[in-house]
Structures are given as structure tokens and as C-alpha cells.
Symmetry: C2
Subunit: 161 residues, 2 copies
């Protein structure tokens, strides 16, 4: 199955929030995202990985304009959620390769990560699907990241959206 890379996209209008050390039991993720939904906060990516011990950290991205409102909301509800603390930054941009059939081509992720590594860009977070590989990088490195990925994949600059 051929991989088709359609293009590279970036979004600098984001902020990243992480809710730290929540109990890893049913209902916690629901509480957090119900709270956000009821407050009209749009969430882009949600990332929950392995955690440590019997707790998890849940990270997500939102529009930069909603960062402080969201941090306040989470902070007011730390006990309700059962979280230790909230960690956040606006020094983040999302850079993505958009394509098709990427799950069967592990080389695509490796190539994208290699392009960023060679440009000395640190990958802060990674989230993928079959059609999109997204990395969070530092906000001011977004353009450099996109250019590095374009060059590594031999994509025309016009595909930058």
C-alpha cells in the first residue's frame, strides 16, 4: 500500500495543558473533558500515555486565547478531578504531516523525526493516526520544523498551508 504524503501543516495558535497525577480509575477522563466541554473549551489533541505507578497525566491542546481560562478552571477543580496539579505552556506549536496509509510505513515517522532532529528541534509531544503524524515543538521553531520536513520529504514549498 503506497504512502501518500499530502503535505505539512502547522498551528501556532495553540497552548498545551497537562493535568498531573490523576488516579488511573474509570471516570477521571470523563470528569475532565465534561468540565471543559461545559465551559465551551475546544480541545484539539488529547494525549494520555503510560503514566507512573497508579497515576496518569492527561495532556491536551487548546487555542492560546483560552489558556488562562482553562488553567483557572482546572485549578479550581483539582480536588474534584483528583489531580495533583496542572502544568501548562504557550511555548508550543503543532507541526503535522498529513497523508494516507502511514500506519504501514513506519519509515514516515522516522523520516519526520529525523528531519526535526537534524534541525536540532526537540520534539515535546507526539500524537499520530493513520493519516496524520503531529509533533509539538517550541512555538518559535514551527517554521523551521516545517521547512526541515519539506526538504527531507522532497515536498514542494507550495504545499505549506
Amino acid at each position: 500500500e503506497k504512502t501518500m504524503i499530502k503535505g505539512v501543516a502547522y498551528d501556532k495558535d495553540i497552548a498545551r495543558i497537562s493535568i498531573i497525577a490523576v488516579r488511573d480509575i474509570p471516570g477521571v477522563a470523563y470528569k475532565i473533558f465534561k468540565l471543559l466541554a461545559d465551559a465551551g473549551i475546544n480541545v484539539d489533541i488529547i494525549l494520555q500515555s503510560i503514566g507512573r505507578g497508579d497515576t496518569k497525566d492527561i495532556s491536551f491542546t487548546i487555542a492560546r486565547s483560552q489558556l488562562m481560562e482553562t488553567v483557572d478552571l482546572i485549578n479550581k477543580n483539582l480536588d474534584y478531578i483528583g489531580a495533583k496539579e496542572v502544568n501548562f505552556t504557550h511555548d508550543v506549536a503543532k507541526v503535522s504531516i498529513v497523508g494516507a496509509g502511514m500506519a504501514n510505513h513506519p519509515g514516515v515517522a522516522a523520516t519526520m523525526f529525523g528531519a526535526l532532529a537534524d534541525a536540532d528541534i526537540n520534539i515535546h509531544m507526539i500524537s499520530t493516526s493513520e493519516i496524520k503524524i503531529s509533533c509539538l515543538v517550541r512555538w518559535d521553531e514551527a517554521e523551521k520544523a516545517v521547512q526541515a520536513i519539506h526538504e527531507r520529504f522532497g515536498l514542494a514549498e507550495e504545499e505549506l498551508e
Copy 2:
């Protein structure tokens, strides 16, 4: 913008691997996924979240048939990668809502997580994009998870793929 939920999917043919405590510096993600790509290991989702201190954990899913081969490969290369250890399980299934325009409807994630919580299903990992919200749950809870989500969203059972 209207959210369209197209259906619920599940994949029980997966295993989850986490590479623990890698240094959070450029080049580490590249090394791992280049190693996997060169060994012909197909990766489905990749998840890298906040980590602790100056290290990160990188998690990913693969076909169950490739679990032991992949764990061996990572274990042989722990020093090369700069990782503390590898953690893995085959007691995992991916359950996903597939739709469109979900980023602007935070209620969709909350509803999915609520359905799982009410069915007493623990969410092990979460990975999302605008068109897909995926949760890793225990392997033997996949069908119960899909049914719970169908019912909560009022979807017809035939949409189960």
C-alpha cells in the same frame, strides 16, 4: 460546524510498548522509529506526552504478532536509544470513534469517556485527531466498550466494523 459521528471501530490485534525514561533531546524519537522501520515493524499510534523531569516515555502500538520481536529489538538497543527500560502488554485493544469536526465539539470526547466510565471500563491511553478519538482499554473489554459507546451516542449496532 456539525459533528458527524460515522461509527465506532475496534482493533484487538494490537500490543502496546512503552520505552521508559529516554532523554528529552533531539534525535531520540528518530533513533527509536528508524530502528523499528528498518526491522519492518509497523507502528499504529505513537504517543509521547509530558514525561517527568528531563526524561520522556514514548509509547506505541503494533500488531500483536510483532510484540516479542519488537521487545527484543528495543531491549538489545536500550543503551543506543538511551532508555531505562521497556514496558509492554498485549492486554490491550484500541476502541475508536470515527467522525468529522470533532475538535470543535469537546462534548464528543466527554461523551465517549463517560460511556466507558459508566461501563466501569478503565481508559489506559488516549490519542485523538480531528477525525478520530481512540482509547486503549483492556483486551477483553473491547466489545463491551464498543457497545457502551454505541448506546451512549444512539448509534445503530450495524455501524460496528
